[in-house]
Symmetry: C2
Subunit: 266 residues, 2 copies
Amino acid sequence: MLEVTPEPLERGRCAEAASDSKIHPMNSHTIKVACSNCNLRELCMPMGLKAEEVDKIDEVVAVRRKVKRGTRLYANGEKFVSLYAIRTGFFKTCITTEDGRNQVTGFQMAGEIIGLDGIVKDLHTCDAVALEDAEVCVMPFDRIEELSRDVAALQRHVHKIMSREIVREHGVMLLLGSMRAEERLAAFLLNLVQRLHARGFSQSELLLRMTREEIGSYLGLKLETVSRTFSKFVEEGIVEVKQRHVRILDTNALKLIVNNNAPPCA
Amino acid sequence: MLEVTPEPLERGRCAEAASDSKIHPMNSHTIKVACSNCNLRELCMPMGLKAEEVDKIDEVVAVRRKVKRGTRLYANGEKFVSLYAIRTGFFKTCITTEDGRNQVTGFQMAGEIIGLDGIVKDLHTCDAVALEDAEVCVMPFDRIEELSRDVAALQRHVHKIMSREIVREHGVMLLLGSMRAEERLAAFLLNLVQRLHARGFSQSELLLRMTREEIGSYLGLKLETVSRTFSKFVEEGIVEVKQRHVRILDTNALKLIVNNNAPPCA
DNA sequence: CGACACCTTGAAGAGGTTCAAGAAATGTGG
DNA sequence: CCACATTTCTTGAACCTCTTCAAGGTGTCG
């Protein structure tokens, strides 16, 4: 359910690799970059590498790319070339069908990897939209594959990232298939705050980057239901909500809601 | 939504690798095996390999294992060692939580790979249960990794299998998040029959290997709703249903239901 | 400041669930 | 091979959750 993080990072902002950045702009919004001194490396790089292996991995991340809020990092049908590691910002991924259905399949934050959907057909099968101004590391997939043939730790890391995504989606299926509205929203809030906390943010306070409609799409609910459920949580004193600002007052109450009001036996 | 299959295979049953099988039983239900003359190789092996590469891959599949109906191939919490390629039979995968929730995350048939959930934590995070007597090829994952460092086509294949599973689950999220009962069941039937047809079975007739309750769990519905929806389809002349025997009379009607009654514009 | 996107709340309605009973199939042991 | 127990499936009726439709409020950005 969460990214494995040995210790919280400070604030999800990377110290710039000062010597490199902004010297060789590839185009209007791409710049060179190095992983080896990125604050997020514990999230998106394998641990315990030799120095020479770290250097090799630095070469994988060819460039960074800035993505303005509301614009797409990639879109359904586009050729798949690279995976992306999110440096800063917040994304949603969603699929849209010809008959007008739309489904948010996930929300992604700093240190998470997106683009895995494109590997199977060499085409992206969903859209990735920045919900706030963002910056990503562009990692050409053929170079990842090449390198992970040399560096077993990287190979293993790539496999784990993909497996983690599969397991995450199992959790979403459980949520969508078996939970009621309150349970879904409680699980959603707990998941978000947990991931934010792992990145050094508050355990109890969060700023929603997405609309009620996007939350609803992700949770299989209508935006009105999301809004009403928030209101209900407020009435019950579980959270404070001011638009997109949410403060969790009673984490345990949320956990009880998710766990069917059964106390955790483990 | 489906396994990519160049051409239908005959009946999903493998010709035995006669010289090998049953000579060296590893234990009561494991036998040696070779991929190179398995009828399913187009489904679970990369295409266009050199002969020597095929030989290497043969070595990956250490043994086969028989799984009796109703028993588990692996279970939540067990150590992850191998992926499994299904030779014959039919599986469900499902997750169960401490508080008693249960969710079927997929149904798998011959030629499909299961066990990917275990990679991220070296532990299986779901159960795989045989819904009929089954046989699988056991593929130790460390050998897969080792070999895919040598054989780029295998590496790519493993990545595609994992990506395909991610994309499949996106489809399930769309189903669970945005479809009504009829739409879900129609999509489910179309998906099943399509995968069966790719394996040489009928386009219109299928034998459900799972109960109404299991279908319901997968589709986020109660078993009564599944039953009622089947009955509705029967009334409308779209399918014939005799217990687990289903004959699709009007594939197009099912497609229209899934597509929101909007004619396919593509 | 005005336009627009987003959020909240109410009331009515639909779709799915729950509870219950009975029928059909399947498996078991004598 | 048959009788019985068990599991699975179907169907009805009442209920509940979530959706739909509608209106008004709040916040944001040019």
